[in-house]
């Protein structure tokens, strides 16, 4: 499972303060904790700073990469901020995200083809949000075909089916799950990814819902997730699901996690 650690996001007060105060050590610590907990990529998001997003995003890239080798997920809807952060990033980042929205697709295409990177492609249509499985699969198909036509290797594409809250419409659970399966089956080699927390918006016990959704989505073929790897319970769910889906040879990853005390609060 590819894990994108979501903790460095300025929508969190302490992160916003650290960014404003240029508290590099605090940011590096948050990054390091996530790497030690199993993150494959460290997401950096400064989206709350309207007008100063690019500047702060670039500071985050330089700050984390000054001390850690883990690649970053550059997280913004803004093509300009992503382009600037991509220029600074050493190694192969994840770009999060492109979509079919007209301006965004055209503006981001040169960025994602400017060098080796992974790209999260969000199943957002040109002018609307998909609701059904079929709409998601259609948008996902268009994204994959457009990106591969431009030379992006299919293995570098991470389709995000766009998770919507079950509290608004209970059909949103199966819609996301079935879209994950349909896209994974139709396009061998492509990755599927999602953030988890939208699914539980408006409900109590959100962490419980998020981790149950993670297990379900992994069963439907999800192979990457944006989550908090320092949440031991979600990682316990993830590690046990990996094992139960035969992605953990000899159960070694699960047993190691147990022996290292990482399943303690499961």
């Amino acid at each position: 499972m590819i894990i994108v650690g979501e903790q460095i996001n300025t929508s969190r007060t302490r992160i916003a303060e650290a960014v404003e105060n240029r508290d590099a050590q605090f940011i590096v610590n948050v990054a390091r904790e996530q790497v030690e907990a199993g993150a494959t990529y460290i997401d950096v998001n400064a989206g709350t700073f309207v007008g100063r997003e690019a500047e702060h995003l670039c500071w985050l890239v330089e700050t984390v990469q000054s001390q850690l080798d883990t690649p970053l997920s550059l997280d913004s809807p803004d093509p300009v901020a992503l382009a600037e952060a991509m220029k600074l990033h050493k190694g192969e980042p994840m770009i999060n995200s492109i979509s079919l929205e007209e301006d965004r697709f055209r503006a981001l295409l040169p960025v994602v083809t400017s060098g080796p990177c992974r790209v999260v492609a969000l199943c957002m249509a040109k002018t609307s949000m998909p609701t059904t499985v079929e709409e998601r699969v259609q948008v996902g198909t268009e994204l994959i075909e457009s990106l591969t036509a431009e030379g992006v290797p299919i293995e570098n594409i991470y389709i995000d089916p766009l998770i919507q809250p079950v509290s608004v419409d209970t059909k949103m659970g199966p819609a996301a799950l079935r879209a994950i399966r349909a896209i994974a089956e139709r396009f061998p080699g492509v990755h599927t990814i999602c953030g988890l927390s939208n699914i539980s918006f408006g409900l109590p016990e959100r962490r419980l819902i998020n981790r149950t959704f993670l297990a379900l989505a992994m069963g439907y073929g999800l192979d990457a997730a944006i989550l908090d790897p320092t949440d031991r319970r979600i990682m316990a769910t993830l590690l046990s699901a990996e094992m139960l889906l035969d992605h953990d040879e000899y159960c070694q990853g699960f047993i190691d996690a147990y022996q290292n005390g990482r399943l303690v609060r499961a």
Copy 2:
């Protein structure tokens, strides 16, 4: 989700003692707790008493039914014990279980056709245990075809794909999950059921593994499970998975459980 409460089993020391001492109140309390926690059926199993199993199983049926209306799951590999318990049971029990093993199938057929009941059909072949998905589906298909040919309505059949430990072979997770999906898709109306604890045999943190497996299996179509409904964590997983799979209109079951304090330790 159809929940079969598994707690009244003489492999548990306190249950065995209560059965030997004819402690009816203790047994009724264990049954009542499970009903209050959400059990649809109460399993009764006296299999550890070799030679006296039928007698004890019948006592359990009379004892629980003297105070509760919940139907029972009569749990034994022995056709004679099941036949006697079935005669005593008021209402429509679940018979757990028939299989293709030669003597067992022929001996149990008159029992399961003697009156209205649900029947758990275990994917055990005539002389061997299935290991692959295909073997499980083949045995399941034979069971469904044989039982429906004898007049058992397909809606009364609960196929158990036979869960084997991932610690022995990590392929056993996907083998069970894919068999559940294949059988549910091929035979509309049939139920699928399993016990959860075999999957985690030989591993640490078994309850974590069992509840993650439950979520995965529900995603593959499982609609009945034999479990401990007084385990709040497994029920929290179950209730959240029901909601995420669109089996909980307006999220009402989940919200009710939260408001009644049943998700507290989730």
